[in-house]
């Protein structure tokens, strides 16, 4: 197995599936000659040509709208939003057309939208957002958020093959910071199956995307204090593997949901609610949430740190949960 960054793993998954299936094509801003703002598709246009790696005008709605159409024609389109934040410009199309067409018309819409997401590097209010909770709220869309290189590749391939619109959230902060073993060749990681990132007995931390790494750091710190945290990497939040949550929380009796979307209305609230509703009798303490504060993501590092969930916040919350 090769060592790859999270970014390389995404590229690899895309490339392998494009080689296998000529119906796969990419469309987005600056993804061709330039290779994409983050260089995920570097070299792709050379290999696959101008009509399978399409530099679009600055038009998010045209990009995803064209993907819906191409999906109906039997293609497997993959759109890139230059930053996840700009998907707001395609919100109507994704929620109105892509998400509802199968329910209404019975015609599957197999398309993938790649969303470089998340904060932590002074991207400011418009290059840092975590948009997962908005889409997980929409019936008909799938929301997937790999945390590791291995998952990133396998879930990329799974996303392309899935017969539904899939929002593939790639965390920018993981692109080059996270490395790992990645199998060669084609493989898929199924949606709706959480991964136990760390086994533990005392408390369950439920996380996805970059927050898995924050959870792991917190768990390491807590281990030295004798608190044994289990970390669940949800991988996808729509579909949601609630069974995995139930199994873990039944074991630990205590749960913390850690998410990078804003606290109020973010998907962690939904998970917290379900835990309390469905596991009422197993809980030994109220569910805790650690999330981004209810405000835009500020630019200055001192402010951004304050707003985004930090390892110390998780450690603190788990300590309190343990002591409850």
């Amino acid at each position: 197995m090769a060592q790859m960054t999270y970014l390389q793993a995404i590229s690899d998954g895309l490339r392998e599936e494009m080689r296998r299936d000529e119906n796969v094509f990419l469309i987005g801003e600056d993804i061709g000659n330039f290779g994409g703002a983050f260089k995920v598709t570097q070299g792709f246009q050379k290999e696959f040509g101008e009509w399978r790696v399409i530099d679009s005008p600055l038009s998010e709605t045209a990009i995803v709208g064209a993907c819906t159409g191409a999906a109906l024609a039997g293609m497997r389109p993959v759109a890139e939003m230059q930053f996840a934040d700009f998907v707001s410009c395609a919100w109507d199309h994704l929620t109105t057309v892509s998400a509802k067409q199968y329910y209404r018309m019975g015609t599957p819409i197999p398309m993938t939208v790649r969303l470089p997401c998340g904060g932590g590097f002074s991207g400011g209010p418009f290059h840092s957002q975590m948009y997962d909770g908005y889409f997980a709220h929409v019936p008909g869309l799938k929301v997937v958020l790999p945390a590791t290189p291995e998952d990133a590749k396998g879930m990329m391939i799974e996303a392309i093959r899935d017969p539904n619109p899939v929002l593939f959230f790639e965390h920018k902060h993981l692109y080059r910071r996270i490395k790992g073993e990645v199998p060669e060749g084609l493989y898929t990681v199924p949606f709706g199956k959480a991964r136990i990132a760390r086994e533990g007995a005392d408390v369950t931390i439920i996380a996805w995307s970059a927050m898995v790494h924050v959870a792991m750091e917190a768990a390491e710190q807590l281990a030295s204090e004798g608190i044994d945290a289990e970390v669940l990497d949800m991988r996808t939040i729509s579909p949601l593997d609630f069974e995995a949550i139930a199994t873990s929380v039944t074991k630990t009796s205590k749960a913390l949901v850690l998410y990078e979307d804003t606290r109020t209305g973010g998907f962690g609230g939904e998970i917290s609610a379900r835990i309390a509703e469905e596991l009422f009798e197993t809980l030994d303490a109220p569910v805790r949430r650690v999330a981004t504060a209810d405000c835009p993501i500020p630019f200055a590092p001192v402010l951004e740190r304050e707003v985004l969930p930090q390892t110390a916040d998780v450690v603190e919350a788990i300590r309190e949960l343990s002591a409850y």
């Binding site: 009509w51 399978r52 159409g69 191409a70 109507d92 015609t107 799938k142």
Partner: protein, 344 residues
């Protein structure tokens, strides 16, 4: 406005590459279209159609003519005034009635209403309410033809005079123009967007003049003249599949009813209704056929046939059951097998 060359109906048909049967089929499809929508009004008054109801009265000629100028392999994305497209493509009227009434036999199995229909076996994509959201979808269909180098295939996207003010129109048409995709944009200019007149929606002479901002051609035709529409669309399709890029065809009509059943269209000058009633597309087509040698008897027969056909179709629709409530929440996500075997 491109004017119709003066010629005998026979010469005109020859010029367009159509024969007598083609013309009769178009006429018949217009009659069916209007018949469906007229019966829809009755059904609505009978309380059999839930929600609201609206028609494309006045646009039957344009809708049928456009669809007639397409090839079966072309994908069509018609909108709310384009029932004639579905009829021409062969969507059975009973399914349309079933759709109106929310029965399982409708193309959406009771999940959506009115003309929110489609059938991928007929290469018609079902529309959404948000206008004109299906236009970029048609552009994506055309893009896939281009990627796959499919030579004789063209996508068709509709938009109203009003809806062309929305961003989706701009982004979709622009992408198609930049990439010279094989798509034809049909603009149903029925002079009103709900109660809003053209001058409050666009600032050009014709709404299709928006084409100029994308460096593509627009052609304005009399939407009540099916032959004129057919001719313009055929030329635009030829151009598109030859790599000449998209064209906007504006079919000028008047929306002959209110926006929907609750709207009496008080804001449309009465004279306009009178003027345009005289230009009725079906009457025009009928006159064309009679002049071209179709006898009054034959016409009578065609019209009678359509009537009987629709009575049958309506019966069939009424026999279609209401959907099973337990299915209401199923089918939100497709399973992998369905990609190979979609519902429609």
């Amino acid at each position: 406005m491109a004017t119709t060359a003066e010629a005998t109906p026979k010469a005109r048909l020859r010029e367009l590459g159509l024969d007598r049967e083609d013309a009769i089929a178009m006429y018949r499809n217009m009659l069916i279209t209007r018949g469906i929508e007229e019966r829809g009004h009755i059904l609505f008054r009978q309380g059999k159609i839930p929600g609201s109801f609206y028609t494309g009265r006045g646009n039957e000629g344009a809708a049928v003519a456009v669809a007639s100028a397409t090839k079966p392999q072309d994908h069509l994305c018609p909108l709310q005034r384009d029932m004639g497209v579905h009829v021409t493509r062969g969507l059975e009227p009973w399914r349309i009635f079933a759709q109106y009434m929310g029965r399982v036999g409708g193309p959406t199995r009771g999940r959506d209403g009115n003309v929110h229909i489609g059938d991928m076996k007929l290469n018609i994509v079902g529309m959404v309410s948000h206008l004109p959201a299906m236009l970029p979808v048609a552009v994506g269909l055309a893009l896939s033809y281009r990627i796959r180098n499919e030579a004789d295939r063209c996508a068709f996207a509709w938009s109203g005079d009003g809806a062309s003010a929305r961003g989706d129109f701009h982004e979709g048409v622009n992408l198609a123009a930049v990439r010279k995709l094989p798509v034809v944009f049909i603009m149903d200019n029925n002079q009103w967007a709900y109660s809003t007149p053209g001058n409050l929606g666009y600032n050009t002479e014709h709404p299709s003049d928006r084409a100029k901002g994308y460096g593509i051609e627009n052609v304005v035709v009399d939407g009540t003249d099916a032959m004129a529409v057919y001719e313009a669309v055929k030329a635009a399709r030829d151009k598109a599949v030859e790599g000449g890029g998209p064209t906007v065809i504006e079919a000028v009509t008047l929306r002959m009813e209110g926006h929907a059943v609750h709207d009496d269209a008080f804001y449309v000058p009465k004279e306009d209704f009178e003027t345009w009633a005289k230009k009725d597309p079906i009457e025009k087509m009928r006159a064309f056929l009679l002049e071209g040698g179709v006898s009054e008897d034959e016409d009578e027969e065609i019209r009678g046939g359509v009537k009987r056909f629709l009575v049958e179709q309506l019966e069939k629709a009424e026999a279609s059951p209401e959907p099973d409530p337990s299915t209401a929440t199923t089918g939100v996500y497709a399973s992998p097998e369905e990609l190979d075997n979609p519902h429609h």
